[in-house]
Symmetry: C2
Subunit: 180 residues, 2 copies
Amino acid sequence: MTQSPKLNLNEAMAVLERTPASLSALLLDLPEPWIRATEGEGTWSPYDVIGHLIHGERTDWIPRVQHIVAGETRPFEKFDRFAQFTDSGGQSLADLLLTFAELRKKNLATLAEMNLTSDDFDRKGMHPELGEVTLGQLLATWVVHDLDHVVQVARTMAKVYTETTGPWIDYLSVLRDRER
Amino acid sequence: MTQSPKLNLNEAMAVLERTPASLSALLLDLPEPWIRATEGEGTWSPYDVIGHLIHGERTDWIPRVQHIVAGETRPFEKFDRFAQFTDSGGQSLADLLLTFAELRKKNLATLAEMNLTSDDFDRKGMHPELGEVTLGQLLATWVVHDLDHVVQVARTMAKVYTETTGPWIDYLSVLRDRER
């Protein structure tokens, strides 16, 4: 495994603590066409994404941090990328955004209480598919995963108006990202 | 020119009014490495993007709406895509975010006072490069332009940790978007 640049925990947590408020400011009380839009069959709406982020808070990030810190050598539990399609059932987007914000706050408090140092970021865990990974890589991935889904939400919303922009489509590169 | 789907003004304004708060929640008081990051030479940092959005509020969207509504037949003024590199000089990101929020609020109030109806969206303007465009297309483009830059900000931040994620890079598609 090649050495990857070290994480700065304060900088990482600064992003992680802002994601719920940013997504709430973008999405709360928006008209349904924005919330339920997708990029086509098999792609996720903003509503689906928030459910996915909630499932990550419950089963992925902190459980895997604790797994590594406990010195477990067996692989992490696999993550269910489709849990939100059953878990979110019947809940409003406002409910989901609130749940995400509460879980994230609790998880960041748990992370802070661990008093991790830079040395801890080299501690090893076993990913079920990727093999050996480090705690620092896991925490960096948590941050990038948040931002990846912020990108996805804004890109999916933009595409609702692809045709409505008329000739301006040539200037709006987001409408051509991940063309199907 | 082909006919493009009609704009819903309330739905468009619902997005436009949320962008400043969403970007503020994401960016305000973040450590500098996130704010000043770019995707490489000639690409923009989150700081640069906010300056660009401010310049759009001042010189692009509402002036062009007014140009069309006034029945002007000469082309729109060209938009300066690099104005932020001189205009933002010396200002903090907090100042820029506040300026963007204030200008957007004022511009949406101006738009609301125009009492535009669905028929108005077919009114024609002349773009200096694209040729004939409609008011509806202009307003849809304002919305998509916002979302395009939200995507750009989050994507640029994600790439700060490209190497730090180690083997997870294979799962984080945002790190491969717009590869250089």
